[in-house]
């Protein structure tokens, strides 16, 4: 399927959205890969690896989602601007 109103060159945000998905992917996939972290060693402050690794994934996910948010904000703005342009250009 094609967009009936192709975005003007330079205003496409596809690349940005792809990057956002790429950033968020590890936050979804890594916590589900139990074999990565199903061991006791190395321990940290008495915590077996299995437990502290999962807790450590939380700040990692926060950072990834935070960067994704910043990117999405810009992408949303660019989308809106190109929508606006299209609206102005199109026949009323």
């Amino acid at each position: 399927m094609t967009d009936s109103r192709p975005p003007r060159p330079g205003t496409s945000t596809r690349g940005r959205w792809f990057l956002i998905c790429l950033l968020l992917a590890p936050a979804v996939i890594v916590p589900l890969l139990v074999p990565l972290y199903d061991s006791e060693d190395p321990t940290l402050f008495g915590f077996p690896f299995y437990f502290w690794f999962q807790l450590a994934l939380i700040p990692a996910a926060v950072i990834l989602t935070g960067v994704a948010f910043a990117l999405a904000k810009g992408a949303d703005r660019m989308d809106r601007e190109s929508h606006g342009t299209r609206r102005g250009e199109g026949p009323r």
Partner: protein, 548 residues
Amino acid sequence: MSDVSTVAFSVFIFFFLLVTILGFAAARWRRAEKLDHLDEWGLGGRSFGTFIAWFLIGGDLYTAYTFIAVPALLYAGSAVGFFAVPYTIVVYPLIFLFMPRLWSVSHRHGYVTPADFVQGRYDSRPLALAVALTGILATMPYIALQLVGMQVVLEVMGLGADSDNWFVKDLPLFIAFIVLAVFTFVSGLRAPALIAFIKDTLVYLMIIVAVLYLPAKVGGWGHIFSTAQAHMTSISPVTHKPTGVFIPTTGNSQLAFSTLALGSALALMVYPHAVTAVLSTKRRDIIKRNMALLPLYSIMLGFIALLGYVALADKVTAANVKKANNPQLAVPYLFQHLFPSWFTGIAFSAIVIGALVPAAIMAIAAANLFTRNIFKEFFKPDASPRLETRVSQWVSMLVKVGALLFAIGLPKTFSINLQLLGGIWILQTFPAIVSGLFTRWFHRWALLAGWLAGMLYGTIAAYNVSTPTTSHWGGSVNTLWGHTYYIGLTAVILNLAVSAVLTLVLRATRVPAGTDETLQPQYTADPVDAPTPAPAAAVLGSEVSRGD
């Protein structure tokens, strides 16, 4: 256990009164000009910013029952006990990608519930009804479990516990329940939003103190983990197998762990109370920003889960739990034994208030589903916004009475089984809601058939799960072709497969697909945009493939 600690009780009463006052005052908080509109009562006027939304969504998703049940799972040695941590990591990026689209299209069309969206997108009353009924059915036992969570704390505090009279025994629960029901009726979603501030402040205080203070009391984290490990590997005299699993190392326990985490994350997104919280925000980027901030709660949840092991390492608590034969009492007993009584009062207040917030939001969400998608749709299509609000208010009351009857009338295991089923059921609305946000490829009748297939398979499979101690409803994972999966996830895969195959058939036979009232740009709209002008034809554009 029978004597109520006066100090703990006084602290508890103080916070309970504070919350009661706030619950009623909330009706005046951020009051809008147009009252008597379901957007006001049921969605807080769609007005919440980042700060309030953070407390509201956090207060909504991390429920009192979680604080009781997750450490109980670890305490009892469940292989999947810690799954709540990956589950609450995985859910936020998914919400980030999917839910802003639901927010935008709902904002444009005034949708209040997920079933409203399904109706607008697919032009199918049966499908919208299926989504609404599933939502109500899945939410009821969830509310009942909040009351069960409250009951557990009240019981450890010694309130009414040693009376044989059922009325005296449950009186504290009745009082808490009446307060909850009345302030929800009066203030709508603003009440839990305001109370969530108190709840989360208390919960964070409780967990920070618990993590800093308790481990040292029982010999440090190293000792706690080694005690837990020794306990789990010891052979149980009842089953002649290891008592529990410390770290899931076998392929099947890992598969159960990760499918449960993923399935629960997908289910959480489409739970009516989660959708209600998402739709109550003011702008779409507030949802995204919150997805980066909400995982803070997951750190807290991780430590709450580990309190199950702390309880195991404390001999007095372990003996108390063994005597009561209920692992759900592990955390309340632990607090009662090791905290000074004034802080026990704070911790118990945190848990009980932690039950009030989600219970209120869930009741509102279920009431909105009934009003919009059953009452208005099938009985009174010309209902005014004022009447809609009235109906929702009364239904929220009814929903809570139902939940109360669940909580006191039925055995606790029954409520837990129902909630477990609720998760499997609500997941069956995922294809209709979330796929609909990106594409209208699926046929409405195919989605309905897929839903039915998933519901039937999920319910039967859950019924057939047996454990050494029970013959039915033994858990939410089963073994399929030699591998162990979360039933909800296999059921939703079946659901999607049926939907896809039937879509091809229905398209080939040209069965009418209905009219889609939504337009592509409306899925990314923000209030800062001008109202979207209607394009000549709404086709699925390049936005379909995009992640937003």
